[in-house]
Symmetry: D2
């Protein structure tokens, strides 16, 4: 069953290094092969809940591996009987 | 000074009416004339902080006016000395 | 390594049933035996990241099992090299 | 009409300075005289929507005044016809 999970990572690194760390996380999501949309404040993924939460967990570790002493993340889950897709929500706004 | 404010409204209405209420909020944001990007889990706006928070306040009222007995909203603010734009964050991913 | 994960579930059920479903989730967290603090907008847990995310996943299913056709959740993660505890953040405010 | 607004500020300052900046925000909320509860990941306030959003706006400025080059904030609003109080949600868990 497909759900939507959005992830915003806020790594504690000097201001000028924030985007570089965020890019590493987006690259990892891309490499994971899941359907996703990159937005200005979060990246939304579509897939099976536990698989997406494992990507979320991996993202925390990745931020520490790339120099953050700490990372705060905001994760939003949209979970619906029968599944939910990214397209049903934004197709008309593209 | 420009900042980014993203807004997700979660109106308590029957499941089949959720998107209709969300659309009303997006329409109001559009009518407000602020730069914005509609995403699958939130709409991100760019502009002056207090003007954007007034739009956020108005969105709560709008949900009640359109049948929700209750609405929970998630708002994220990205505020930076010198300002922050949507483009500096997602241009390369478009 | 201990981290903090906060969870807010917003089940799509009639307004008068919202608290009952949220209570089921809090009960499940309690039964899981993890250190946690119940707040007005979220419950914060302390423990190992993947174990807490499994509780988050289980909470989504629980909401559907208790009558929600859909549930939106907001999850916040505070992840720090060396670990982070709930006490170091709120002890002085208790 | 009373609503609930929770605020988490994530100031971009060196790790060892994060709590000091967060404390300044909590102090400002206290000085504002609104009913509030300090939690491990956010402070929840109870009051009139626009008054609370002005506190949220002020918090962003305060973080910059205390050394943050950037601050990301997560704000959650619980807005209900007839009003909503902190007590109706957590009294039984205190």
């Amino acid at each position: 069953m497909k759900c939507n999970v959005s992830l915003q990572v806020i790594p504690n690194v000097p201001p000028e290094e924030v985007y570089a760390v965020v890019d590493k996380v987006i690259e990892m999501i891309k490499d994971a092969g899941v359907t996703h949309v990159v937005g200005p404040m979060e990246t939304t993924m579509e897939g099976e809940l536990r698989a997406l939460l494992e990507i979320v967990a991996r993202a925390q570790e990745l931020c520490l591996e790339h120099g953050a002493g700490r990372v705060v993340s905001v994760v939003k889950i949209d979970y619906k009987a029968g599944g939910v897709t990214i397209d049903e929500k934004i197709e008309k706004y593209r």
